[in-house]
Amino acid sequence: MASRKITKAGGSEGRGVATTSKFTINPRVARRSFMKIAAATAALAGMSLGPKVVHELNAQEKKEAYPGSKMVRTVCTHCAVGCGIKAQVQNGLWVRQEVASDHPVSRGGHCCKGAGAIDMVTSEKRLTSPMKRVNGKWQKISWEQALDEVCGKLLDIRKKDGPDAVHWNGSAKVSNEMAYLQRKLAAFWGTNNIDHQARI
């Protein structure tokens, strides 16, 4: 069942990648890059893939797996240990991740969540556009419409029922800057009805 899902994921991701990148790139290159990571991670997870997704390395790739790529230092989003992650980025795509063996806390350690961090970005389950539910069905809408409607309704409620009729649940998964803005937003909105996961 899992290998079926993986194959399916591999099949649809090329399309996803081409539409998501902000850079102009050759979609075939993007697809190949994804196949390599898919093959590598699938091998790590002990799963098998069909022969279709593996390709012969060309001369340049034999020297350097991801020509022209850069390595970005970042921090895992899964727990408060704060493990380092080295993310390899090629043509604006996250193609591969590496453990940070020189990070003073994690020292190359990763749990399965950190090792799979890349799928936060590559998962085909990611929402692709704003949505609202209409007559029980999900409908894609533009950002403009979504923000206008959401903010309009919130302002209506504020006017009719008062600022405390809205409850804000913020997050322990955003940056300090964003968490700070969430608290500041509640203040400017005019309520103390704001909380987040530290409470639970």
Partner: protein
């Protein structure tokens, strides 16, 4: 965290993950680090293997961490205070306490002992189920292996007496003299990746950023930082009363909608915004679901739809796809108070937008964009600068964005044992400038309350936060400042002193935005917040000294009369919260098993991210409940069978049985990461098509019981009762 902050000043981990490498003993209660903080294990196991440190694991369940322990102690859920106060009593009775440390740096010790003496090994055995001989043996291990560290997580806090549990653990470390030293401390492992940072920024209904509270002075301080008029800010609120009144919490906001318990605000809740927050991690989830269907508006801002989208069955819901944290940047604070810069890996994918953009768009539509972004031109760096400017209480002011980035970009220069940079551009500084980082040249504070170092080099005494003198219930008066002779090297005052104020007239170290007060204190070798004693007695808490109180839903009705819970709280964070009226001795007859919840290594929180991750979903696709061999056999349940778990609040889940003796015969364990099912019903059709997670399962929190901490209102998910039936 309230319990910790009220003991010695700050509610945070005092040492660091790495510092555990110097521990001679590691005592872990209500933590399953092997699954919840796996990469911290290398430091814990270093202490165990290299220092030959005993690794004591106290847990109702034989966890993966317990498998690594030298000493495993099985405890009845909800009895941690009794056990820990029992250890304190045993240590004091035998004279193993650190008398010099207590005399110089601790307040309320005799009064605390008066209460602790009730918890003899035999009494502890009766309450906790831990044999008296084990209580004595563990106490002796603690006394003979110093410095030892104490680690806890949600297993200690998610109880009606959670804030007593944390204080009891602090008292244990004070009695042993294990505070302010490398290898000691209370190392509270926090959950989400930035829960320390988000707590510091106070995304909380009782405080403005950096723990300033919500009193008039707090608002005036932040209005000065934001450069907005206090009167304008006041006009934003329903009334001034509501500006100073604690709001609803994440644990109980939905009562503002369904109002099964009486609420104390002028309007019910009509709309809720979930911005990077799961709903299925809240207890009594079936009641929360009722609220979702009753609200006028539900807004979900998240990279994934989350279970909230599937649980809403009306047309009242919007999904705004935020990008993941790898598609934006900013600082994050680890459990060890280290601030790292999370650099952006790629631009937002699909049509998702980063949180800052969404915030900007909303604020624009709300009509206060100019005021909100007055000091903020460059995002996120100018936000960091603004929060640094205002967060003087916790010393974020020295952790400017360029310093944080420099640390992250040179993490290889920091030493694993000391966390101090050896050479390189950050030479001498501690990794991530662990707060408080008092000035732009301060190296950070790697260990809180360590008087062996000058304040300018990362040392600190205990914080003077609770006045300078107190008279206890027995009439004894005590000076709360540290004893003569207790000071950081270079201090101009050779003993205790109160906090700094009036250096700039009318301000103190927390409100002087010029930061002159802090700089003067540091230049005199002193801590801006004073030099005081840590408290064993918290006179502002319902229990001044931690005492055992039976869980609201107790499997030991015979103990309720002797250890009753608190009276009901008529208004706790805007809602009536039942204690005594909820403690019904007869409940156990129909709900005979204790229900506890916890983490799996493969998943995180409500699981929206990890169950949408193909690798992790493959590793752990199924929801389950652990049941002991004996109980399973008695109920005719075999491994892999489906069974119903039912709560006293009419919540029920249909889950697969995992028959294992990790749990005892009276306890059921469930992981809390699953969602997408609801009381036997498959909700996968409610997700936007193609965006349902790879694996779904019943949320354990449908069955977690009523019950909240008396101080913080944290939900009591580790001490409920349940019934089990074969499905």
């Amino acid at each position: 965290m309230a319990g910790v902050a009220n003991t010695w000043g700050y509610g945070a981990m005092t040492n660091s993950m790495n510092d555990i490498r110097h521990s001679k003993l590691v005592f872990m209660l209500g933590s399953n680090a092997a699954e919840a903080h796996p990469v911290a294990m290398q430091h814990i196991l270093y202490a165990k293997e290299v220092n030959n440190a005993p690794l004591i694991v106290v847990d109702p369940r034989f966890t993966k961490l317990a498998a690594k322990a030298t000493d495993y102690v099985r405890i009845r859920p909800g009895t941690d205070t009794a056990f820990v106060m029992g250890l304190v009593n045993e240590i004091v009775t035998n004279g193993w306490h650190d008398k010099d440390f207590i005399r110089k740096r601790v307040a309320g010790f005799p009064e605390m002992c008066e209460i602790a003496k009730h918890y003899t090994p035999e009494v502890v055995e009766d309450i906790t189920g831990i044999p008296a001989s084990e209580v004595k043996r563990i106490a002796k291990l603690l006394a003979t292996h110093r410095p030892g560290t104490v680690v806890w997580c949600m297993g200690a806090t998610q109880h009606s007496i959670g804030s007593s549990n944390t204080r009891a653990l602090c008292i244990l470390q004070l009695v042993l003299g294990n505070m302010g030293v490398s290898g000691g401390g209370t190392n509270i492992f926090r959950g989400h990746d930035n829960v320390q940072g988000a707590t510091d920024m106070c995304v909380l209904s009782h405080s403005l950023p950096a723990y300033y509270g919500i009193k008039d002075g707090s608002w005036k301080h932040w209005c000065r930082v934001w450069d907005v008029d206090y009167e304008w800010m006041k006009s934003r609120f329903h009334s001034k009363e509501y500006m100073n009144k604690k709001g609803f919490t994440l644990a109980r906001w939905y009562q503002g909608v369904i109002q099964e318990d009486k609420i104390s605000q002028y309007t019910p809740i009509k709309a809720v915004v979930f911005w990077g927050c799961a709903s299925n991690s809240q207890s009594q989830y079936h009641k929360l679901k009722k609220a979702l269907d009753k609200l006028d508006l539900v807004v979900i801002i998240d990279p994934f739809p989350t279970m909230t989208a599937a649980a809403c069955e009306k047309d009242n819901v919007y999904l705004l796809p935020s990008s993941s944290q790898y598609e934006t940047e900013g600082s994050v604070t680890s459990s060890s108070r280290q601030i790292q810069w999370r650099f952006k890996v790629v631009d937002p994918v699909h049509d998702s937008r980063d949180d800052y953009w969404i915030m900007g768009q909303m604020v624009k539509r709300f009509g206060f964009h100019d005021k909100f972004y007055k000091n903020i031109k460059k995002v996120p760096d100018d936000i960091t600068r603004e929060l640094c400017k205002g967060s003087l209480t916790i010393g974020y002011n020295g952790a400017l964005p360029e310093r944080i980035k420099k640390h992250t970009l040179h993490w290889e220069t920091f030493d694993v044992d000391s966390l101090q940079a050896k050479g390189g551009p950050c030479d001498g500084e501690y990794y991530g400038l662990p707060w408080p980082c008092w000035t732009e040249t301060h190296p950070g504070t790697p260990i809180l309350y360590d008087i062996s170092k000058p304040v300018a080099k990362g040392g600190l005494p205990f914080r003077a936060r609770f006045g300078t003198e107190h008279t206890y219930w027995n009439g004894r008066k005590e000076n709360l400042l540290a004893a003569p002779g207790v000071y950081n090297p270079g201090s101009q005052v050779k003993g205790g002193y109160p906090e700094f104020k009036d250096i700039v007239p009318g301000t103190n170290w927390k409100t002087d935005l010029s930061q002159k007060t802090i700089k003067v204190a540091i230049s005199r070798g002193m801590a801006p917040f004073g030099n005081a004693r840590a408290r064993c007695v918290c006179w502002n808490f319902p229990d001044q000294v931690p005492v055992h109180r039976e869980p609201l839903h107790s499997p030991r009705p015979d103990l309720i009369a002797k250890y009753p819970t608190y009276p009901d709280k008529k208004e706790q964070y805007r809602v009536y919260t039942r204690f005594k009226s909820e403690q019904k001795p007869e409940l156990v007859k129909n709900f005979p098993y204790v229900l506890i919840t916890g983490r799996m290594v493969e998943h995180m929180g409500g699981g929206a991210e990890t169950r949408s991750n193909k690798y992790l979903a493959e590793l752990a696709p199924k929801m389950y409940a652990e049941i002991s061999t004996r109980l399973a056999n008695n109920l005719g349940i075999r491994d892999g069978d489906m069974m119903w778990i039912e709560s006293p609040e009419q919540g029920k889940v249909k889950v697969m049985a995992r028959v294992t003796d990790r749990v005892d015969d009276k306890t059921i364990f469930m992981p809390f990461h699953f969602g997408g099912m609801f009381m036997g019903q498959d909700l996968s059709g409610n997700y936007p098509k193609g965006h349902e997670p790879y694996c779904i399962g019943e949320p354990a929190n449908i069955c977690t019981n009523y019950g909240y901490d008396i101080v913080t209102q944290i939900q009591g998910t580790k001490e409920g009762l349940c019934q089990v039936k074969k499905a």
